[in-house]
Amino acid sequence: MTDPILKVDQLVKTFGGITATDHVDFEVMPGEIHAVIGPNGAGKTTFVAQVAGMLRPDSGKIVFNGRDISRMSAPQRSHVGLARSFQITSVFKNFTAQENVALSLQAHAGHSFRFWKRASTDARLVEPARQILADVGLADRALVLAGNLAHGEQRQLEIAMALATAPKMLLLDEPTAGMGTEESETMRAFMKDLKGRYSMLLIEHDMDTVFSLADRVTVLVYGRSIATGTPEEIRNNAEVRAAYLGEDE
């Protein structure tokens, strides 16, 4: 049996008296899309922050691609192949789409203590950046300032930036957040396209997205993982229905 690409073991994080992450076990198999769902305040954001390295867990272990990354900083995690996108669109608004992707590429092309040569015309950055933009369907938007892109395009750019880091796994934090039906559909199609090429940890609010894309689903409630299984199993899980789906719909 293959080893999981990401293995989270008994993760705990408390804030004051509140246990935001309560002994969570979690894993993502290579090539798999494993979604995390849960009602508001279930601790999804705290969980993602710990996997991405923005928050230090109080105890527990995070193993990625065979390495313990629990103590690594966010930039170090990026360098071992863990790429994330943000729930709130997080692009460099005053850079062009192409510059956004180039900046991401540059982070993984050795150090950036290069003070002389103009970056925006450097073929070693521009050409691959164009290629990645073409892959996500933003080829003709390359020279538009990211801040002037439509919301859905910014979300696609966000994923393009994650792909530019040559990741082994994508950590997607609500990729369809704030999108209209049509934009969500485009994003889903795009993610389906990525499926199999990348392992993904998907945090998602939108049930359509979760149930159409995920191979497995884990449900977080009050910081605890109450169930893990196929979308079908989760849909039919009584505890989940009581804790979450029932309330929500």
């Binding site: 360098h79 460099f92 991401s104 950036s112």
Partner: protein, 315 residues
């Protein structure tokens, strides 16, 4: 890329600057040469601050420290009869850089108001250190001679000194123009725009900011070196916190996050000070509203007011 209008403006500006010394000589106004030299020196200081303030988003309220350090490098070496300009310049640059590395390694771990206060606090420490060093004049200051660069560059000649200052201004302007558009510059600007994103795509932001902070401090040290040569007198007043504020105002006035704006800002501030102070000693009553209008209505300061298409990616 710079647009043609602005490029033309720069060519004319530097062209005019070259002809200032013979012009002032012709109209027999040597004071104006000294004022012009002062403007160019502060332009260097403002450019150096803008690297971290405008591009890096780091509100350093202590930039006068490096001005003072550069100046004291001249005065203290001169005190020990070391008049070699090259040596003084190297000590000014390296000394400012080392102090910037120290201050930066502490202040850059914080952000926002804390960063402002820590940079201010360190500069105040240096200010009072200057006052307490009786050996080097304490708060009375210390006289110094101009640096000696061999027989072929005679800094005792005011015009020569002016051209040396102009050379350094051109050099610093060119360096920062290359720098802000380089890979390193993109990292600094990206960190300003979205730090969390930079970390997520793999940049240890602190490291890059620290290097920018050191470059900025060292460049301001050059301005201090030149200032000591111009005034032939160095006092702790060079490091007073109001001086840090003045350099910041020059950047704001000229255009934050632009390479060339700080030159205009330094010129506007010092020339207005000179003119308005003859009207009233409370010249800020007039200058204050002017500054306010510029900041409120011109997004990129005086540089932004200049005609020509706005080019976001460059300046």
């Amino acid at each position: 890329m710079l647009n043609k209008t602005k490029l033309g403006f720069l060519v004319v500006l530097f062209g005019l600057l070259i002809f200032l010394p013979p012009f002032f000589e012709a109209i027999e106004e040597p004071f104006y040469l000294s004022l012009a030299s002062r403007v160019l020196i502060f332009a260097i200081a403002a450019i150096s601050l803008d690297l971290i303030l405008g591009y890096g988003g780091l509100i350093s309220f202590g930039h006068a420290a490096y001005l003072g350090l550069g100046a004291y490098a001249v005065a203290i070496l001169n005190f020990y009869d070391i008049e070699n300009g090259w040596l003084q310049l190297i000590v000014a640059i390296v000394g400012s850089g080392i102090v910037a590395a120290f201050i930066g390694s502490i202040s850059l771990r914080t952000g926002g108001l804390y960063f402002i206060m820590i940079t201010l606090a360190f500069t105040q420490m240096l200010y009072f250190l200057g006052i307490s060093l009786e050996e080097y004049g304490g708060d009375d200051g210390i006289n110094t001679a101009r640096s000696f660069f061999g027989d072929w560059i005679d800094l005792d000649d005011n015009s020569t000194l002016y051209y040396v200052i102009l050379f350094f201004l051109a050099l610093c302007t060119f360096l920062s123009w290359r720098l802000v558009n380089s890979r390193f510059g993109m990292v600094i600007r990206g960190s300003h725009s979205n730090e969390a994103r930079m970390e997520a795509i793999g940049y240890p932001v602190f490291r890059y900011r620290l290097v920018a902070f050191v470059i900025s401090g060292a460049m301001c040290g050059v301005a201090g070196f030149l200032l000591a040569n111009l005034t032939e007198f160095v006092t702790p007043e060079f490091m007073r916190w109001t001086r840090s504020g003045e350099i910041m105002i020059m950047v704001l006035l000229g255009g934050m996050g632009t390479v060339f704006g700080p030159i205009l800002g330094a010129a506007a501030y010092l020339l207005l000070e000179d003119v308005l102070a003859t009207v009233t000693q409370h010249w800020w009553i007039i200058f204050g509203p002017m500054l306010l209008i510029i900041i409120l209505f011109a997004k990129k300061g005086l540089w932004g007011i200049l005609p020509g298409k706005e080019d976001m990616s460059d300046d």
